[in-house]
């Protein structure tokens, strides 16, 4: 074999490979905006008071569950390190968010997105590779099972297989039958996330809420180590603080403090409509105990 022959054969090889080289980088990019990165919350966290169910289309069962909730339940060993499901984690933990691409470990192809929230470190993987949702009998998880797709500039994903959790920090329940449709929309350096929660057990209609984040590429999300304190350390061992039906003596503190008719503070679909303002004016309000809200901690 001469050099000239060898060279000719190499050139021939390149000619064969050239179309492949040309085509590979020419794959069209995906039609999606960039949600990957670090996001700082601009979440204004209402619903932090016991008895504040305002704006939530709760049904009677949901209201009963909420009224039985006792603030000391947070100190139960099983609750101390319990992660928020992502739908509430993004909503109430006022916490940093990181979105990364989820890669197949074998092929290294992107198969979805992974969300990570700082507080209690809940994670949610949203698959975009077309895989089906698991059987209804499959185990439920804190952040459920999610599949998503792009609708123009908006990333839309559907979550089911959620464990029972809360809609607020103060005990308004969300059942394991609930599903959540989430819409992520980036505009400029802002990320809006809209949740539509459908819970046939505790809501009378889909519940919509929305929050914003700001792109913050230099933020640092610290680890969130959590250690469970042994049972009996904070609360008596084996006890579960609760309010029996009709015995919640702090239920209407919120309504009284803010001058809201007690019935209105308990939520429900009717209370969400502008027409309800007319009804509010006819309802009784308990005597105020304070109007000095600005002295409260944020």
């Amino acid at each position: 074999m001469t050099f000239a022959n060898m060279n000719f054969k190499m050139s021939g090889l390149w000619l064969l490979l050239l179309p492949l080289l040309l085509v590979l980088p020419a794959r069209p990019a995906r039609a999606q905006s960039d949600i990957i990165g670090e996001w700082s919350p601009r979440v204004y966290n209402d619903g932090v008071d016991v008895g504040d169910y305002t704006g939530i289309p709760l049904n009677e069962a949901g209201r009963q569950r909420a009224e039985s909730w006792h603030p000391d339940q947070i100190d139960l060993p099983e609750n101390e390190c319990r992660p928020h499901p992502i739908d509430i984690g993004l909503r109430v933990s006022v916490s940093q968010l990181r979105i990364t691409p989820e890669l197949d470990p074998e092929t290294r192809q992107q198969i979805g997105y992974r969300l990570h929230v700082a507080w209690q470190e809940p994670e949610q993987v949203i698959y975009t590779d077309g895989r089906p949702h698991p059987s209804p009998n499959a185990p439920h998880r804190w952040s459920g099972f999610s599949t998503g797709h792009w609708e123009g500039n908006t990333f839309v994903y559907f979550t089911d297989h959620l464990k029972e959790a809360y809609l607020t920090r103060t005990g308004v329940p969300r059942s394991s039958k609930a599903t959540v449709t989430t819409r992520m929309h980036r505009y400029g350096n802002y990320l809006n996330i809209t949740f539509i929660i459908n819970d046939p057990a505790y809501l009378t209609q889909p519940y919509i809420r929305e929050y914003s984040w700001v792109y913050t590429p230099d933020q640092v999300i610290a680890p969130f180590p959590c250690e469970i304190i042994p049972d009996g350390t904070i609360l008596p061992a084996g006890s579960v603080p609760n309010f029996l039906p009709g015995k919640n003596d702090i239920l209407f503190n919120f309504a009284t403090e803010y001058g809201i008719p007690p019935e209105a503070a308990l939520g429900g679909a009717e209370t969400i409509s502008p027409e309800y303002i007319r009804k509010l004016k006819t309802m009784k309000v308990a005597p105020r105990t304070t109007t000095e809200h600005f002295k409260r901690a944020g």
Binding site: A26, N192, S212
Partner: protein
């Protein structure tokens, strides 16, 4: 058999071929992606391709990627106690007020506002989407989207193109510049890394990566008003940026209109304030309930 292989020469040739392939691949990335390779490789004396930037535009009405028109009713699922009732003075827990803003909030006097003809201070553009009520959106003309609001009987005009006239004074609803946003083309490069142009220097954009699909509105020229009913101030220099989107509810026959608002006002705010409002589409003007502005009423 004598084998003479010059690795340096072979590598050099291979490198040149690789560079050539890489350069060509950039062109192919644009060309194959756009299915318009022929147009981009066109001879210099031919007519410019059809996708250059000076293509004749449609009117904003004709180009609307989404239909925001119709009647909508607010669904007050967030910050209920700030919207459905008048909150107490100094309750600004969710507004990043600075010290100057706090001073102004502390002297809120609704009776004084009523008496001085300022009852509409909490019905200005930065606040009006938060006020519970109904809105009616329609095209006033091909370039102007109009929103009538029953609460406070207010009207917002979203002007596509143009800018605020300098001769007019500030108003409650200010001057709103609108645009359909979200469109983006694939960034294509020639073999040297530069933009792909025709002979006249006009950019030949890559094929569309995304179409516009939401409405952005920027409002300025505002008369100073309140972000909340209880006198939380914004100044005349405030800038309101809004993102309007509409989509079907996944669980019902409802269509949603969502409005995400960002108010930037260094005079009274430490950082931009974010607000969100949600509206459900309704069939007609049933329930339309125009009110006059009241300083001490939720709507």
């Amino acid at each position: 058999m004598k084998i003479e292989i010059s690795f340096r020469g072979a590598l050099a040739r291979a490198g040149r071929i690789s560079m050539f392939a890489a350069a060509l691949s950039q062109v192919f990335a644009a060309g194959l992606g756009a299915q318009d390779f022929g147009a981009q490789g066109r001879a210099s004396n031919q007519a410019p391709p059809t996708n250059v930037q000076n293509q004749g535009p449609k009117t904003p009405h004709a180009a609307a990627p989404k239909d925001l028109t119709g009647y909508w009713v607010a669904e007050v699922t967030e910050l209920w106690r700030y919207r459905m009732i008048v909150p107490d003075k100094n309750d600004y827990q969710y507004v990043p007020l600075n010290p100057e803003g706090r001073k102004v909030a502390a002297v809120w006097d609704p009776a004084k506002d009523e008496a001085s003809g300022n009852a509409c201070k909490s019905f200005g553009a930065p606040a009006i989407m938060q006020v519970p009520g109904r809105i009616h959106i329609y095209w006033q003309d091909e370039n102007t989207l109009r929103m009538d609001i029953d609460s406070g009987t207010q009207t917002r005009l979203f002007h596509f193109g143009g800018s605020a006239p300098q001769t007019e004074g500030p108003t409650w609803q200010g001057f709103s510049v609108a645009s359909w946003e979200g469109a983006e083309n694939i960034d294509t490069r020639d073999g040297q890394g530069g933009p792909i142009q025709d002979d006249a220097g006009r950019l030949i954009p890559g094929r569309p990566l995304r179409q516009a699909d939401f409405l952005k509105v920027v409002t300025t020229h505002l008369r100073p008003g309140y972000l909340q009913k209880n006198g939380i101030p914004y100044s005349g220099n405030a800038i309101l940026e809004e993102d309007f989107d509409t989509f079907p509810d996944p669980y019902s026959n409802t269509t949603w209109l969502t409005v995400a608002s960002v108010v930037t006002d260094p005079q009274y705010l430490i950082e931009p304030a974010f607000m969100h409002a949600h509206f459900k589409k309704v069939a007609d003007n049933s329930g339309w309930d125009p009110t006059t502005c009241h300083a001490n009423e939720p709507r």
